[in-house]
Amino acid sequence: MGLDVIIPREFREKYKKILGNEAKKFFEYCEKPLRKSIRVNTLKIDYDKIVARLEPYGIEPLKFYEYGFYINLEKPGNTLEYFMGYYYVQEVASMVPVLIMDVEKNSLVLDLCASPGSKSTQISQHMENTGTLIANDVSYHRLKLLRNNLERMGCVNAIVINKDGRFLPFRETFDYVLVDAPCSSEGVVRKDWKALSSWSQRLVISKSILQKQLIASAIKACKKGGVIVYSTCTLSPEENEEVIDFALKRFDVSVERIRIKSFKSREGIVKYGDKRYDSEVRKCMRIWPQDNDTEGFFVVRLRKHG
């Protein structure tokens, strides 16, 4: 399967403009299969015990996150440890949003777009099953998967609700809000070859509109002094920096610069075509596939002031 088949011409042109000479490397990584990775679940088993049990499969710890491992199994969902909920199959870059959320125990947390639950289960784990996690998803059909995953991982501090994230009834309620927004999914092409088959610039723009509504709702739901983490598995500035630029203009929030040791990320893009975004968006984290051999991701941590 050649590049022309997998990657739409419009997409290639867009990323040639953004990345210049590096675009070729980016496209090469888009074609490379991902290494399988997991997050061990300390809600159901001690860390040392699960690591010892997984070692015979061949695991390699992530340098930046103690719970994350590469695993040398073609089907990591076919082990006794998976059945027991001792780990969650999760892509490496997707572990970053909850890591930078840095949630405290006994907090009140909202996961606005929670299904299938990789980050919700990770939040519960970081909270050590204390406090309250409200896991919301707009799609009723996706709730079953979310509930199954929360229960399989032993998350007894979670409540699942089914609301349109744009119109939540919460005002200044939560200590932390995660918006892992629905997106054009450009970053997951390494996991799902069809991810770009429905890609178009029109899709990017429509997602951007939705994302701005979602982040506005998230900010309203967050307490003053609270934290909002916004993430997508896509790389288009329209769905990332532009959404944060919108939030900075409309709300009293600031961007907190986060850097993760032993994990490469790049600054947010300030100039894009004829657009100029707030210079604060530089503090966002752009995770390119070619930097850490992961999916593409975008993550930012906002602090609400007013």
């Binding site: 076919n78 059945f83 099953n129 409200i134 229960e151 032993g154 501090n157 409540i159 699942v160 009834p169």
Partner: protein, 139 residues
Amino acid sequence: MDREYILNHLKERYGIPEEVFREYEFLVRGRKIWIYRKGLWVPRGKLESIGMIALRIGKQLKPTTNFIQMFGKYASKNVVEITSEEDMKRFVNGKDIYLSISGRGYVFVKYKDDFLGCGFLRDGVILNLIPNDRRIKID
């Protein structure tokens, strides 16, 4: 059905001490009994789930796979241990297990240190009660 009834059932049938659930609440809704962490902030409006389903109400109370995986380690009664790896693989794949043991009713099925889930013991057979979407094939 109240907390006392549920705690008494778990103690009488499985030998789980009441103290294990000191930090947990139970909620009965329809034929489901949910368990969740005490002190949870509950929003107004419809909830799709709260914590996890612990037991299902029928002729007897049937414990769920997820509940057994979390709390099975505290049980001292009606625990059936599978000793062969082959039986473990069959059980997590949804197959019944044939053992020469007597008794009748719901049991916690254990393999080494892991509490796998729920079975119904009848005439020396552990009828498999692992939900379809939890079953896996271990190679």
